[in-house]
């Protein structure tokens, strides 16, 4: 009897014990490794806002922009200065995996961070200005065959980045050498959009979440979404690349990693916070408002995906000659 009571008492005390042992964030920070206005920025601001609003974290998480080297500065900063910081989340996207695969983050790669989880996925789009000569993706493919270097492509990120890769994959489907593309990197999607609207560039291989304002105003058109099937909502009228005979998909998974030696208690805490965010009834609407689609993967399963994808992109980078095969 006494023993049973003890067990009951212990069981009752368990939630409290777990909390006491566990971790409470203090002055937590979300690093968006780009200038404000782009996808990383949205990832941080949307997630931190929802976590506060839904009371999933005890105090608001502030967003810090850390532009430079499309994320290289942030991963170096974390590894050099805050490798054990339990209070920092760093936004990443599929593009970060590309950069790691291509060794653009110096000596740091997929095994030098702790993969916490995804918040959603976005899809690549191929945008042109309202009055572009290209009406469909087929027009673009034909245009590439006529002269791929006559089509200036402007986006955020360097050669080899995911925006570059989207067009490179279409170029390969058109039987062209991606290295002959005329690609102009801008710092941030806002500047690249301005260049498209100004007619300085002809293609904007952006993400579905960043083009809504200009699309609804009729300033730009979308030739294709790079998704497995048509996307819902305002994008349902845009055909996929596959429908138009070009087998290219580009999902942009967005989420967070933590520092390489983030304590287990903090790691589990953040994984759990994301899991509870995904399960919250208010989340799908907020996520959809930012043009993101469901992608609820966290923790160990997600870390495995991150490592698998990075390896796949490493193979791709070798194929197009972005990195030396021996290394």
């Amino acid at each position: 009897m006494q023993r049973r009571m003890l067990i009951t008492a212990a069981a009752a005390a368990l939630p409290w014990a777990a909390q006491a042992q566990g971790f409470t964030p203090q002055n937590a920070e979300c690093i968006a490794p780009a200038a404000p206005g782009g996808g990383f920025d949205v990832t941080c601001r949307l997630t931190t806002r929802m976590l506060s609003e839904l009371n999933l974290v005890p105090s608001p998480i502030r967003t810090q922009n850390m532009p430079g080297g499309i994320g290289a500065v942030a991963i170096n900063h974390i590894n050099a200065q805050r490798p054990t910081d339990p209070n920092v989340l760093i936004a990443f996207s599929t593009g970060s995996w590309l950069n790691m695969a291509q060794r653009r983050f110096g000596r740091f790669a997929e095994n030098d961070v702790r993969w916490i989880g995804a918040v959603g996925a976005d899809y690549g789009v191929i945008a042109v200005k309202r009055d572009s000569r290209f009406q469909t993706l087929a027009d673009l493919v034909a245009g590439m065959r006529e002269g791929i270097s006559n089509i200036p492509v402007g986006s955020s990120g360097a050669v080899g980045s995911q925006d570059w890769t989207k067009v490179a994959l279409i170029a390969r489907a058109a039987g062209q050498d991606p290295r002959r593309m005329r690609y102009v990197p801008f710092e941030g999607g806002g500047a690249a959009m301005a260049a498209l609207l100004g007619g300085h560039t002809q293609l904007f291989p952006g993400d579905a979440s960043e083009i809504r304002g200009q699309l609804e105003a009729g300033e730009i058109r979308l030739l294709a979404v790079l998704a497995p099937q048509r996307l819902p909502g305002f994008l349902s009228v845009v055909p996929t690349a596959k429908e138009q005979g070009v087998d290219v998909e580009w999902p942009i998974i967005r989420g967070f990693y933590g520092p390489p030696r983030m304590p287990d208690a903090a790691y589990e805490y953040w994984v759990d916070v994301l899991r509870r965010l995904h399960a919250h009834p208010a989340w799908p609407e907020a996520r959809a408002a930012q043009g993101m689609f469901e992608f609820n993967m966290v923790g160990a399963e997600f870390a495995a995906l991150a490592k698998r994808r990075t390896e796949e992109y490493r193979v791709l980078a070798r194929d197009v000659g972005l990195i030396q095969p021996t290394q």
Partner: protein, 492 residues
Amino acid sequence: MDVFAALGGGFGVALQPGNLLLAFIGCILGTAIGVLPGIGPLNAIALLLPFCLALRLPPESALILLAAVYYGSGYGGRITAILLNMPGEPSAVLTTLDGHPLAKQGRGSAALAISGIGSFVGATLSVIAMTFLSVPLAKLAVAFSPADYVALIAFALSLLGAVSDGPAVKAWAAGCLGLLLAMVGVDSGTGVERFTLGSLELLGGIDFTVLAIGLFAIGEILLLIETRLRSEAAKLGGGKKLSLREVIFCTPAMLRATGIGFVIGVLPGAGASVASALSYTAEKRLNGAQGKFGQGDLRGVAAPETADNAAQIGNLVPMLSLGIPGSGTTAVLLGALLMYNITPGPLLFEQRPDVAWGLIASMYIGNAMLLLLNLPLVGVFARLLTVPAWVLYPGVLALSFAGVYAASNSAFDLLLAIGFGVMGWLFRKMAIPLVPIVLGFVLGRMLEDNLRRAMSLSDGDAWALLGSPICLILWAMTAAALLWPLLRPRRV
């Protein structure tokens, strides 16, 4: 839609008591943030945003508050620049050139007053231009190609020699040093590390705040220690108050600076520093002969301060009418809209006129508030100088260090600031001007990024740099600016 009706609707929003109060709070916060070296409006807005959401402010109110912090900061940066020779924000660097000499002559209050009036004129005329011309202006913003930016920045750089008195060769050398410092860090195009000496702290490049605080604040204090706080400090009284005649005398300069500042501000990526530098040098070139620029000319204070505020408002044009952020701070403002599930873009004025026009109307009110707030306080600000130097300067230094550390959380940056401080002190002794270093630094990065873009767009054809009428005009102006000192009869 009728602009007046829409603006009337906007005033309906902006004049609600809650929104008036928020605009007022924003103005005060903005001024304070401008005064504090190291803390810029970007960080302040990013920090305030969660509060707006937590207080469940409606989107137009949040935007009114955040924007007031943004344009209010343009009023604050001049105070320490004029009184202490320590610019509180990047665009106030030019204000030190004539503002501090005025303060030394005991006319600190007059300099503060004219800069407040200039800020008001620049901001208000720009808001009027924005009200009626935002659509054609937005077209100008996107029409500017990378090659045009290259020419614009080259023009700004060509004026470096005119910024300071003394041998032009020293100014050029200082400007080149600034260009070199801008190279440090990870190259944004390729991810290659440059001049980082293997240091991870330098990967992100040198922060502007670190450079400015080091060169100006720490360098000034080192010099004061050397002269035992005796000779150089500014005087509180003794000078004449600002007269109406002087305001009228400065008016043409303020109008020119408004035009320069607003147009530069509309261009995404150019910004207030370029605007204040161009307007100062323009005034000096136009009126240098009869003026006493560099020794305390009121126009030398009025021009950069007017241009600074005009550019800040100009920056909001592409943001509101195209949904394209022109600077880091406006990008955070756009982010605020996103958080309220408002899609920024060309349809903002139609979909949410309450937000767009409410904001514009609030800027008329906010700038009037700032003028009324700033003019009577001129005397209070000037009283800063009655604080004993041995309290004042260490206090400013502590605030500066706090600002540097808050921005980067890096002790390395503090050491770097001290290093620049020693450099600034030595350069002062050698009469090497500091302003060109800072301008070279700011312009260097923009020049490189845009040159690369222009070259990729043209497939490496350098003739593309002369490819548009805007380019040709700007290059012609650059050539004229460079040749002018050679053609001008030498004054000894």
